[in-house]
């Protein structure tokens, strides 16, 4: 067993409990911007976190390596790093590796060794023989490192995106990783308030697999069954956090089952049976079937989540909205935040700000992606 799991949940609780601030912004025209705004916004919600975890996800981060899987890995010691480097060269084509540049920061103590690796899958024909996609292969290898290499933890593994996270307030983490020097068209951020005293770098959000990232505020009371359901599909919930369950559920439904986010929202935050009574027949039939088949993935209990992947950012709350979420729009920019003040701080002249209904997904998409999907859907129908 990798000792990082012990670090993550030192008292072996059912799962790790924490509360949080979350923030996200996407420029739907695809323009890239630095991490300064998002840092200011999340810092404004400092009372919602306690210095035991902060993190960011950035999309459009590595345009010069856009076709490479970018692994961000933390190591507890040199030995773990060596072992991992060997593993990576054995299983991938390793193009480039470097230490992630950092700054000395007052609030940041005892950081692990953190490196990034740009990788390509080089054994494609063999993988295809086994009926796996490249993505499946990468997921399997990430799981292998995280469970088998003691002291190593892959916390980011997508293309042209990256996660930066650690123990500290989010603004300190941002300063430490020099996020003002990076640019992306989509940023999400998280400040954490775990009920455990011990904070571990890998336990901070965003949680991520491939280019899916999740930042989450809540405590899911359906965790036990969500986890057991996902286990049937081969996922191992080793981190014992709600966020991990969310990320795997998204991976299963969106990537593997090919369902669009609007449908996934109706699974996670299923409309009440009584609400269905007022729906038109096709709409109602669809919702009934979704709930019949995917009832074990109903996410029950308070949560707000911002899910992101290449070109798309989605905000969602539980169906009776027990955790806060505010959305705002200005031009091409969509903001999602735990608190409205954080949005207004960085964008005082918002065109519109509103509180979405419980269970209603708020989606921001690159216009380019939107177009592609529309034509794809038309083709399907035709």
């Amino acid at each position: 067993m990798n000792r990082v799991f012990k670090l993550n949940n030192p008292y072996n609780d059912d799962k790790v409990i924490s509360a949080c601030s979350i923030f996200g912004m996407i420029d739907q025209s695809g323009r890239c911007f630095s991490g300064e705004c998002v840092t200011t916004a999340i810092a404004n919600m400092q009372v919602r976190s306690n210095g035991l975890g902060g993190g960011f996800a950035v999309y459009g981060l590595y345009p010069e390596h856009a076709d490479h899987y970018a692994f961000h890995i933390m190591f507890l010691d040199k030995k773990a790093q060596e072992e991992t480097a060997n593993f990576l060269t054995e299983n991938f084509l390793l193009t480039h590796a470097e230490k992630i540049p950092t700054r000395k920061t007052a609030g940041i103590v005892d950081p692990p060794i953190i490196w990034r690796y740009f990788l390509k899958v080089n054994s494609k024909p063999r993988i295809e023989l086994e009926g796996l996609s490249e993505d499946d292969y990468v997921v399997a290898k990430v799981m292998e490192i995280n469970t088998k290499i003691d002291g190593a933890f892959v916390f980011s593994s997508g293309k042209n995106m990256g996660v930066f996270k650690g123990v500290g307030y989010p603004e300190d983490i941002s300063h430490y990783f020099r996020l003002d020097e990076y640019k992306g068209y989509l940023w999400t951020a998280h400040g954490r308030f775990p009920t455990n005293t011990q904070g571990w770098w890998g336990g901070a959000h965003p949680f991520s697999i491939l280019d899916w990232t999740v930042v989450h505020n809540g405590e899911i009371s359906s965790y036990g069954i969500n986890q057991r359901y996902l286990e049937m599909f081969g996922y191992r919930c080793t981190m014992q956090t709600d966020t991990e369950v969310m990320a795997y559920a998204v991976d299963l439904l969106m990537r593997k089952h090919g369902l669009p986010i609007e449908i996934v929202a109706d699974i996670f935050a299923a409309p009440l049976w009584s609400e269905l009574e007022h729906m038109e027949k096709t709409e109602k039939d669809l919702r009934i079937k979704l709930r019949q088949i995917y009832s074990s993935l109903l996410i029950n209990g308070p949560f707000t989540v911002i899910i992101a992947h290449q070109g798309e950012m989605i905000g969602l709350t539980d169906r009776i909205r027990l955790r806060p979420l505010t959305a705002g729009v200005k031009g091409d920019m969509l903001y999602l935040s735990s608190e409205e003040a954080a949005i207004r701080l960085i964008c005082p002249d918002l065109e519109k700000a509103w509180i979405p209904r419980g269970g209603e997904p708020i989606v921001g998409r690159l216009y380019q992606k939107e177009k592609k999907e529309l034509s794809h859907r038309k083709k399907e129908r035709g």
Binding site: S221, I225, Y229, M232, H257, K289, I293, G301, I320
Partner: protein, 499 residues
């Protein structure tokens, strides 16, 4: 032969209160009470009393009480009074001792060693009086994945049957219980939005109108099975075994086979109705698959097929086989399940507690990745809404109740159902007795019970911060064990309380 059996109970009559109205004389079907006109006194024959409490509750002046006969033998843990009496009975009759209702021996009741969770601070409890709380459950086989184009689901979904509370009425046949009792079960199920079960005695023609909330049984005797019976039902159930008597068949004595019972069962009047121990066309799992599909073919794949088994040592492996044999639902009936008649030795010694069976079956089906293929109904001695909710947290989709339903209708658990005499008008075909059960009142009592339990389930769910029953199903993190061994906790898949 003079019997050496002493009376089990003793009638205490308060002569000062007795007004000699003779209600007790008329109420007791066992003819315990008699009126002596000459002496103007009501007498009681203690030896015949079964402690059904009928006379006590109907005596207008509360003059009666029934107590355990305080007879003392020399104390002996091994040779308890019950043991001695059973031996005396057999020495006098040379037969198998029969009994009714469920196992009454002190096996551990795991429900009483499992405690539930509630939300504090980090996540809010939900108040069911102010917030929606959903108990609807769909029974039936679920595919692993839906393929959706636009707003249309392309995947073919096997039939799904909704129930508005995760509680169904378990199998009790017409013959073992009266038509009035079945009528009350059928009506209560229809009105509440759940299902009742015919048992293996066919469906009386008066009850066809409740078909859409009826589970019809196909058991080893095939009594009352014909096309219309199958068409009328919502769910078909193949009965392999019963918790009260795993491994043996059924026996309805000829005295209970009145002419309406004979018509419904399609057997001659007054003959014993014997269900063989096995289905003689099922000696193996592939035979079961054939019957499952024969029933599906016969009903055009419109109705889920349930297979009911007694919870026994290899339930997990057997359940996995049943799921693979094409069943949509598996019903597990545990050690404490009731019966109209069973050999006492079997009832008290064969089978395993339902708590362990639910846990091991749910775990196995998940390990094999086939839990979605079947719904799981648990049965066998559920006493309260707490038992129900704990069963669901262990992994059941829903729960069958029968004894609790009978108690709601008036049963006092005297365990004499096999005699054909039931002073409460339930387990009898004697018109004088069965008309005592007013179907309207019995229906109302059953609805009240379902309502009370459902409200309690909502309260407990809300406390856990859950507003839909499916988020508790199989969610064992909401259970903790008190006073169990590590081995028991491992099987149940729950952690020690406080840990």
């Amino acid at each position: 032969m003079k019997t050496l059996l002493p009376p089990e109970f003793k009638i205490i009559r308060d002569e000062a209160k007795c007004i000699k109205c003779q209600v007790c004389v008329r109420q007791c079907g066992f003819e315990v009470h008699t009126y002596d006109e000459e002496e103007d006194v009501v007498l009681s024959n203690n030896a015949k009393c079964v402690a059904c409490s009928r006379c006590v509750k109907f005596c207008p002046t509360s003059a009666l009480n029934v107590i355990k006969n305080p007879l003392s033998y020399r104390e002996n843990t091994n040779w308890r009074q019950e043991v001695i009496h059973d031996i005396i009975k057999q020495a006098e009759t040379g037969g198998v001792i029969l009994t009714g209702m469920g196992n009454d021996k002190p096996y551990p009741i795991y429900w009483d060693h499992l405690v539930l969770n509630a939300s504090q601070v980090t996540n809010p409890p939900i108040d069911p009086l102010r917030e929606p709380m959903e108990l609807r459950t769909y029974l039936g086989s679920k595919p692993d994945q839906l393929v959706i184009k636009g707003k249309h689901v392309k995947t073919k979904i096997p039939p799904q049957v909704p129930i508005e509370t995760p509680i169904l009425f378990s199998a009790m046949s017409y013959g073992s219980i009266s038509l009035n009792a079945q009528l009350a079960l059928a009506r209560a199920a229809s009105e509440f939005g759940t299902l009742w079960n015919t048992g293996e005695g066919g469906l009386h023609k008066e009850l066809y109108k409740y078909g859409s909330t009826t589970i019809v049984q196909v058991a080893s005797g095939r009594f009352g099975v014909h096309p219309d019976y199958l068409y009328a039902a919502r769910v078909l159930e193949i009965k392999i075994g019963q918790g009260a008597k795993p491994g043996i068949g059924g026996h309805l004595p000829g005295e209970k086979v009145s002419s309406p019972v004979s018509r419904t069962r399609m057997i001659p009047k007054g003959t014993d109705a014997l269900s063989p121990a096995p289905h003689h066309d099922i000696y193996s799992i592939e035979d079961l698959a054939q019957l499952v599909y024969a029933l599906k073919e016969a009903t055009n794949y419109q109705k889920p097929v349930c297979v009911k088994i007694a919870a026994v040592h290899n339930s997990a492996a057997i359940a996995s086989g049943i799921a693979r044999a094409g069943a949509d639902i598996i019903a597990l009936d545990g050690l404490r399940g009731g019966t109209g008649a069973a050999p006492k030795i079997i009832r008290d010694n064969v089978g395993i507690p339902i708590e362990l069976a639910i846990a091991s079956v749910d775990t196995r089906l998940r390990q094999e990745g086939i839990r979605n293929r079947v719904s799981l109904i648990a049965a066998g001695g559920f006493r309260s809404s707490a038992d129900v909710i704990k069963a669901i947290a262990l992994g059941a989709d829903a729960v069958y109740i029968a004894t609790a339903a009978l108690v709601a209708m008036g049963c006092h658990l005297c365990q004499k159902c096999y005699t054909g005499i039931c002073n409460w008008g339930i387990a009898t075909q004697d018109p004088y007795l069965s008309k005592r059960l007013n179907p309207d009142l019995a229906t109302q009592r059953l609805i009240n019970l379902l309502r009370g339990w459902s409200l309690e389930i909502k309260e407990m769910l809300g406390g856990m911060g859950i507003n839909a029953i499916e988020s508790l199903r199989g969610n064992r993190l909401h259970l903790r064990a008190v006073g169990l061994t590590q081995a028991e906790m491992d099987v149940l898949g729950v952690r020690q309380a406080g840990a």
